[in-house]
Symmetry: C2
Subunit: 397 residues, 2 copies
C-alpha cells in the first residue's frame, strides 16, 4: 500500500516536532519553559463558557453551513468599531482560521497554480498548499529590517502566468511584524494591477503595540473583489481549542463557491459558535489589559535578548511572536540541544527552530521563533537561559 | 478575478439546494415535512451536554492534533463490544466524518487518481473528490436489487493503473442498504489482490434492522494495511452539530501522514470531544429503543409507499434512508413542484432528488431519497402525501 505523494510530502509541524524530546526532558525532571507554541495563557472569557452552558435545545442538530447568524451579527458589530462594514453574506464561519486558509487556497487556484507569500510565514500555509497542490513562491524578508517587505518590485518580479494570489499575515506569525498602511496599499496595487487575489491573515489584528494601528485590507475599497480575509477567535479571545474562525470576502463568486465547500463539510460546531458570539459581544475595553500585558512581555524579552549584541532582533510591532537571528549555525540542533543537554538550575526553554517557517529546507538555520505566552517574570528567566545556552553551545562546538 | 476550476465545479448540495424553495413554501403558510436531510429528531444524550458543562479549565487551549485520549479510550471500549481491537494509535479524531473522508482522499491518491465507489453514494464524496482532485469511478447499483453490489467482476473491471481505493458506505446513505459479510469480503479480496485501499464509511453502524448484523471491514484481519474507516458520532449519538468523527486505520504509513494533515489544522474542538467521550461511555442498551423506533419508521414508510406498485423499493436493511424509484420522469422537478404547487390540506413534503447522489448529471432522474427522521404517525401522513403527489403530478403532465 503506497500513500500519495502529497501524503508523503506534507510538512511536519516545526512547532510540534520537538514535543517528544520535550516530554523526555520533563520526565528526566527538568522544568521546560514553553515558548514554542502560540498558546496564550490569558483566560478564555467566562462569557464563552456561560453561553455554551445555557444551551437548552434537546437535539444538537446541524446548523447552517456558513455559520449561525448570531455569531455573524456579533462579528459585524465588532468590525464596525474599525469602520469596516460587512454583511452576513460576506462571512463564512469556519473551523478555525485553518479552514478559512484551506477554503481560500482551494478557491483561488488549481493544482500547479502559484501563491506569493513573504517568508518566513506561518508554517501551516505549507500544509494547506500541499493539500491544495498550490506552489508557494516565497519573497524573503530579513531580520535586519524587522521582516518588513522588500521593495514592491521584488514582489512583482515573482508574478508569473500561474500566480493567482498574494498572501500576507499582519500582525505576523512568526515575526511579530505589523505591515504599515503603505506596505499593504502597495501590495494591493500590485494585486489589482495583475488581477490577483490578496489573502490577508488578520487573526492577530488586536495585538499591536506602541500605539501602532493595524491596517486591514478590508479598508481598501478598490480591492473589494480581490480581498479574502482569514480570521479567528483563537488568539483574539484566547480560545484556541474552540476552533472557530471565519473567511471574509465581498467577492460574490468566491462566496458562491465557498458555500459549496462549506456544505461538503456540513456545518461548524454549534456550541462553540454560541460561545464565540458571546466573546464578540464583549466591550472593546476587554483588549486593553491584554495588550498592555503582551507589550510588557515583548519589552521584557526584547531587552533580555538584545543584551547579546550578536543576536539580530528588531523590536516587533505586534502579535506575540518574535523571530530572532542567533549566533548559532544550526538552530534545529540548538533547540534540541537546549532540551536534551542544557539547563540552568534544572530549567530550560523550548523554542521553535526558524527553518520550518521557510518554504525550502535549509534556509535561515540561525533563526528561532519565540512565542511570548508566559508572564514577564518567567520570560525574563527564559530569556536569560537562552543567552546562557548560546554561550555554552558555542563553547562546545 | 477568476476563481479556480475546482471552485467552480464543486457540486451544490442536492440535499440543501431546495432549501430556498422550502422557505418560501413555509412563508406561504404551508406545513413542510422535512424528509430531505438526515437530521435525526432523537434527543442528544444529556450526558453529552453534562460533560461539556462540567469543563472547568480557565483556558480553552489547543488539544492534541489527533484528539484527546479520553475520547479515544472511550471509542476503543465501544469497539470492543464488536470484538474489534483498536489502539490509540489507530484513531485520529476529526471534524465529523467529513474530515475523515477528506484526510483519506488526500492520503490515498494524488490529483488524477481514481477511487471506485458504488453509486448512488453520499453526495459529499463528490465535494471531497473535487477538493482532492480525485476522479470518482462509479459502479452502478439498482433499486430492483435493493442497491446491493453487482457481481464482483463488474467492480474489478473498473480498476485501472490510476485506481487507488474502493469506498463503500454500509449501512448506506442514501439507500439504507447493509452490505453482507460476503459482499464486504469479496470487495476486500479485490482490494488485497490489486493493492488498493478499502475505505469504509461506517457512521450508521448501529442502525441495522430485522436482526441483521453490520459487518465491519475492521473485522478482516488480512486487510489491516488496506482498511481506512470513516466514523462519526453525528448519527450514532444524534449530535450532528457537534462535528466529531474519526478516521480509523491500522496502516502505520497512513497514520504518520494523517497526523501531519491533522497538525495543519491544529486540533479538533475540545469541548465536543469531552461530550463525545461521555456518549461513548453510555451502555450499549442505549441503542435498543432507538433501533426499534427507526425500524418502526422504516416499516411504516415502506408499507405506505409500496401500496403504489409502480414505485420500485426493496425494504432497506439499515441507516434511516431509502431510495425509491418513482413513476415520474424528473424527480428534480417533482420535488420542487411538491414544495411550490402541491399540498394536501395545507401540508407537503420535502425530499432529496436522487440525481445528486450519482457522479454524472442526468442519471436516474426518477429516484428520490427519503430520510425517515420523523415519527411514524408523521411519516404515514408524509408517505400518503407523496403518493397523492405522484398521482397529481402525472395527471398534469
Amino acid at each position: 500500500m503506497k500513500i500519495s505523494a502529497r501524503g508523503e510530502s506534507i510538512q511536519d509541524s516545526p512547532i510540534r516536532k520537538l514535543s517528544p524530546v520535550a516530554i523526555k526532558t520533563k520526565e528526566a525532571g527538568k522544568k521546560v519553559y514553553h515558548l514554542n507554541i502560540g498558546q496564550p495563557d490569558i483566560p478564555t472569557p467566562p462569557e464563552f463558557f456561560e453561553a455554551i452552558r445555557s444551551y437548552s435545545e434537546k437535539v444538537l442538530s446541524y446548523g447552517p453551513s456558513d455559520g449561525i447568524n448570531e455569531l455573524k451579527d456579533a462579528m459585524i458589530n465588532y468590525f464596525k468599531r474599525y469602520d469596516i462594514d460587512l454583511m452576513r453574506e460576506n462571512l463564512t464561519i469556519t473551523y478555525g482560521g485553518s479552514e478559512a486558509v484551506s477554503f481560500a487556497f482551494n478557491i483561488i487556484g488549481d493544482p500547479g497554480d502559484e501563491i506569493i507569500i513573504p517568508e518566513p510565514f506561518y508554517t501551516n500555509y505549507n500544509g494547506y498548499a500541499t493539500m491544495s497542490d498550490l506552489k508557494i513562491v516565497p519573497v524573503p524578508t530579513m531580520a535586519e529590517t524587522g521582516f518588513h517587505l522588500p521593495d514592491i518590485s521584488e514582489i512583482e518580479k515573482k508574478i508569473t502566468s500561474r500566480t493567482k494570489a498574494i498572501l500576507i499575515c499582519s500582525p505576523n506569525n512568526p515575526t511579530g511584524t505589523v505591515f504599515s498602511e503603505e506596505e499593504i496599499r502597495s501590495l494591493g496595487e500590485v494585486a489589482k494591477k495583475h488581477d490577483l487575489f490578496l489573502i490577508a491573515d488578520e487573526v492577530y489584528k488586536e495585538f499591536t503595540y506602541d500605539g501602532i494601528r493595524h491596517f486591514s485590507v478590508l479598508e481598501i475599497d478598490e480591492l473589494r473583489e480581490n480581498v479574502i480575509v482569514v480570521d479567528s477567535i483563537s488568539k483574539r479571545y484566547s480560545s484556541c481549542g474552540a476552533r472557530i474562525g471565519a473567511m471574509i470576502t465581498r467577492n460574490k463568486d468566491v462566496m458562491v463557491s465557498v458555500l459549496k465547500f462549506a456544505q461538503a463539510r456540513l456545518c461548524p460546531p454549534t456550541l462553540e459558535q454560541l460561545g464565540a458570539a458571546a466573546t464578540y459581544k464583549l466591550p472593546h475595553s476587554y483588549f486593553e489589559d491584554i495588550k498592555k500585558e503582551y507589550q510588557l512581555r515583548r519589552d521584557t524579552l526584547y531587552e533580555v535578548l538584545t543584551a547579546n549584541k550578536d543576536i539580530v532582533l528588531r523590536k516587533p510591532e505586534g502579535a506575540f511572536y518574535l523571530m530572532a537571528k542567533l549566533p548559532v549555525d544550526d538552530s534545529d540542533d540548538f533547540a534540541k540541544w537546549m532540551l536534551e543537554s542544557f539547563d540552568v538550575d534544572g530549567e530550560t526553554v523550548m523554542v521553535a527552530p526558524g527553518g520550518g517557517f521557510y518554504s525550502a529546507e535549509g534556509e535561515r538555520t540561525d533563526e528561532i521563533r519565540i512565542a511570548y505566552v508566559l508572564d514577564s517574570s518567567k520570560l525574563k528567566i527564559a530569556g536569560k537561559i537562552i543567552l546562557e545556552a548560546i554561550r555554552e553551545y558555542n563553547k562546545k562546538s
